[in-house]
Symmetry: none
DNA sequence: GATGAATGAGAGTTCATTCAT
DNA sequence: TATGAATGAACTCTCATTCAT
């Protein structure tokens, strides 16, 4: 039989990598980075421990890959054209997307918050997270500046804090969170 | 020399316990619960590992004690008379206290947030944290109800979220946070 | 295109085998048998891990092949006619060759010494090495016997030890080793 | 019961450390550094794996400790007064001691040779070994200089090589090695 | 012939906890 | 009360070898 082509190998790699990252993300969000062992991840992915190291250099490397992927996919949703300029329409769209992310990427957000507050884990991805954060802040400031704010930086910070707070609370207790009302209030306060 | 009285012994015990808790709190906030070993805590407290187990049943038990103590001391500051009723004056006072806590108990808050987002650690103190949270919500709701809000629960939730968000961001990045401006804004929005 | 003949296939096989052995020898000498992985050898040989097992049954088998080949090629140089008899002229020639080997087969000698001193690796090739050694000793003894030594065995042992010692030191520190002077001294002591 | 005194703890530590080092030395010499697992060492020492790490930071650290101890004890035997000057009497004494070491510290010498030839292990103790070697060379050179040698350095190197060669062969095959005759010959050649 | 994904046993190491003193 | 030696389970990671393609 002829050996697999390069393309076939790549496909296998991509699929398996995605599978491992998905399993790991769920476990990390569920139980916390330190409480999940490589063995757990391998078991959930239905592969051997050894194979995991064929795809990721270390457990830390795996976490980093998950974070980068998550931040990138969120980045894409919030600012698809990456131009850094935010009109009122785009702001409304951005808020919409943010709240979609809140429900669609809930698990990633859980991981994200848990990482932010764990110094020893945070260092692993601090560069990527800081970059993401700065990019978002720049966008918000430009928006408030265009709107005529007297202190765009403070407004951007406050807006970010409110989002963080809502997200944080929603994630910790999403059973009976009045998410729609809250969203409406935000739009009233910051867009209209 | 006269032997120490029972009271003196208890005092020594309490002091040592407090010392251990203080050391552990600092280390946990600095490096994360999982990255701090019992040996580290013992060393920082200048006692032996064995003695630590004389005061706390386990590392988890120690963490729980720290959390309970922290929540209680915050509770006391926010609502000294524990009557659950909040007047406008008390609300202003409460916000004042909250922001004092933010600066005075910064280390505890770091630990607090890191615990909230680590499910495996959270279970250790979930009862205490939920109790604290409910108590605070009841207080806020009663305040907004008295003030004539159409949806006191939503208002309480939003207020709580904003506080959480600000605290969260401040703790992660307190170097150049415009904390005073933000506080003023909050007072304008929710008290006046 | 005409299909390759059987002979051509065998040639390819032999070339590939030689390539793998050369790569492995260099790596083993450089980093030690245990510190070199099969992956390393495959990479250096620019083949896949799997293919290596097409040529050698195991990593140990590969090492054994390298040792046997090395010993044989040295044997050939020292005693091309394999007659076991050593005249004075042949002794002089043998010493010449030995010192040539020292510089030309330096890498193999490094591996050789490292194997001699690693019991767990030594067992893999002990037969071959012992055979080689005995053959050499027989040759040296016959030489000293012909020369009229009172204790040819002791002389042979001493001569062997001196060679070993010089080689050993030269290999460990060949930067500023006065190899030519030493060789002259040996010839004076044992041939003239 | 009163707790153990500091001195008692120190005694326990020293004894256990020595026990572990002894076990490890034997195993390393017997099977080679890489083929001996920490588990093996612990089992031979009749302790748990974990305890080993109470006494040594790592397997490498343990090896290093063994080497340093071995070199020091040999150093002490060869040159008790550490003055670096060697008279004829002292040279005779030194040779005597060397050959004693050969029989008494045989196991350490096996380890020593195996380390010298394993690059990846050698790096762990290269400093210590180089220091030891230089010290010995200086001593030998001073001896040959005083004796009126035309090339003290070459003589020292040759003498060292001969010793190495003899030791090396003796260690690899000590069953029927004519060690006494060889020693006599050395004394004749280099002292008388 | 040739590939590299996949395995599984075992490596070195850490650490909460216990216990003799 | 107080010590730190001692344990053992669990951890992350490695690697020779196999096998479907």
């Amino acid at each position: 039989m002829s050996p697999r082509t390069k393309k076939q190998f790549e496909e296998i790699r991509e699929n398996k990598k995605a599978l491992i990252m998905r399993s790991a993300l769920e476990l990390f969000a569920e139980s916390g980075y330190h409480s999940v062992s490589v063995k757990d991840i391998a078991k959930k992915s239905q592969i051997s421990k050894g194979l995991l190291y064929n795809y990721f250099e270390s457990k830390e490397d795996l976490l980093k890959a998950i974070i980068i992927q998550g931040l990138n996919s969120i980045s894409d949703l919030i600012d698809p054209d990456h131009d850094g300029v935010v009109t009122t329409g785009e702001m409304r769209f951005m808020i919409d997307e943010m709240f979609h992310i809140l429900t669609d990427h809930r698990i990633f957000l859980m991981l994200y918050f848990s990482i932010l507050t764990q110094p020893d884990v945070m260092v692993l991805a601090s560069r990527e997270i800081e970059d993401f954060f700065e990019q978002l802040m720049r966008k918000l400031q430009s928006y408030f500046r265009v709107r005529g704010s007297t202190d765009p930086r403070a407004d951007a910070i406050l807006f970010g804090a409110i989002l963080d707070g809502i997200f944080f609370n929603y994630i910790l207790n999403n059973r009976d969170y009045p998410i729609e009302q809250v969203k409406k209030r935000i739009v009233e306060l910051f867009v209209k």
